[in-house]
């Protein structure tokens, strides 16, 4: 199965880097979509069948925390796994997000192996839904 993955980060360079690293993991992708902030990400999710969201936390307009909460509060989107990809050192915040439903945390800087390790189990769940 190939997946549609949404990358959400306000840095175009970082989005491109994550996209490239995804390719290096060998995870099969149908499409890799991008959004520069949480609000744009919600628009993408509304218009596409997204299998997984990789999201930064600190973004303008709508941050990743609010975006995640809105995805989890919506019956149509709550099953989409959200994985936070962030340099945020605030462990309290990260643990809070996991308790609210974020399915994984990938700390920057990360290797392709670390990204693959964080995503493989989640994507296997998606494949079986």
């Amino acid at each position: 199965m190939a997946y549609t993955i949404l990358i959400v980060d306000d840095s175009a360079t970082t989005r491109a880097f994550i996209k490239r690293t995804l390719k290096l993991t060998g995870i099969p992708t149908d499409a890799v979509l991008e959004a520069g902030d949480g609000k744009a990400a919600l628009d993408v999710v509304a218009k596409n069948k997204v299998d997984l969201v990789l999201a930064d936390l600190h973004m303008p307009i709508m941050n990743g925390i609010e975006m995640t909460r809105q995805l989890l509060a919506d019956e149509k989107t709550k099953a989409i796994p959200v994985v936070v990809v962030s340099a945020d050192p605030n462990t309290d915040r990260l643990e809070q997000l996991k308790s609210e439903g974020v399915r994984g945390i990938v700390r920057k800087p990360f290797t392709p192996e670390a990204l693959k390790s964080a995503l493989s189990g989640l994507l296997a769940e998606v494949a079986h839904v």
Binding site: S11, A12, T13, T14, A16, F17, R20, H58, S86, A87, D88, P89, N90, T91, D92, R107, K108, P109, F110, T111
Partner: protein, 152 residues
């Protein structure tokens, strides 16, 4: 906040880890007196929490280009032509570096907030000597280009 040698150690560990993992660069200590780059960019990030402060990074344009080349698989010519991408890459480097530094604090990063990094031109002639003389400052050579970092 911390003594100069602790800051220097934290900055070095974080910068090496970040450059190696993000951009496959292998930074090394500089032999002798660090030569000032001809041109440089200054990237700053402020943080707050159990302690508050700022990390400043000064890097020659070639560093941003190398980051863009290695992070994105661009050719050197493509990276040289895309100044915005190189600047964005330096800001992301700072973002990741700051997180890595704060995770080394006694709280392990808990309670800290980072601001969005800011990039601007750096007055090498006027400020390089003062910058690298800051207690705890680190100067490394990343594949032929100079990077200097300090925390205040």
């Amino acid at each position: 906040m911390f003594d100069a040698s602790t800051i220097q150690e934290q900055l070095t560990i974080a910068l090496v880890e970040t450059l190696e993992t993000m951009a496959f660069l292998s930074p090394m200590p500089v032999d002798g007196e660090p030569a000032a780059p001809e041109r440089a960019m200054l990237v700053r990030i402020c943080f707050s929490g159990p302690t508050s402060g700022r990390i400043d990074l000064v890097a020659a344009p070639a560093v941003g280009q190398a980051l863009a080349t290695n992070m994105l698989g661009l050719s050197t010519d493509e990276a040289c032509a895309m100044e915005d991408v190189a600047r964005d890459a330096l800001k992301e480097l700072m973002n990741v570096l700051c997180g890595a530094v704060l995770r080394q604090t006694p709280s392990g990063g808990a309670g800290y907030e980072m601001q969005i990094p800011d990039a601007s031109a750096f007055d090498v002639q006027g400020h390089w000597a003062t910058f690298i003389a800051t207690p705890g400052a680190v100067v490394l050579d990343a594949d032929g280009s100079t990077i200097a970092v300090r925390m205040t």
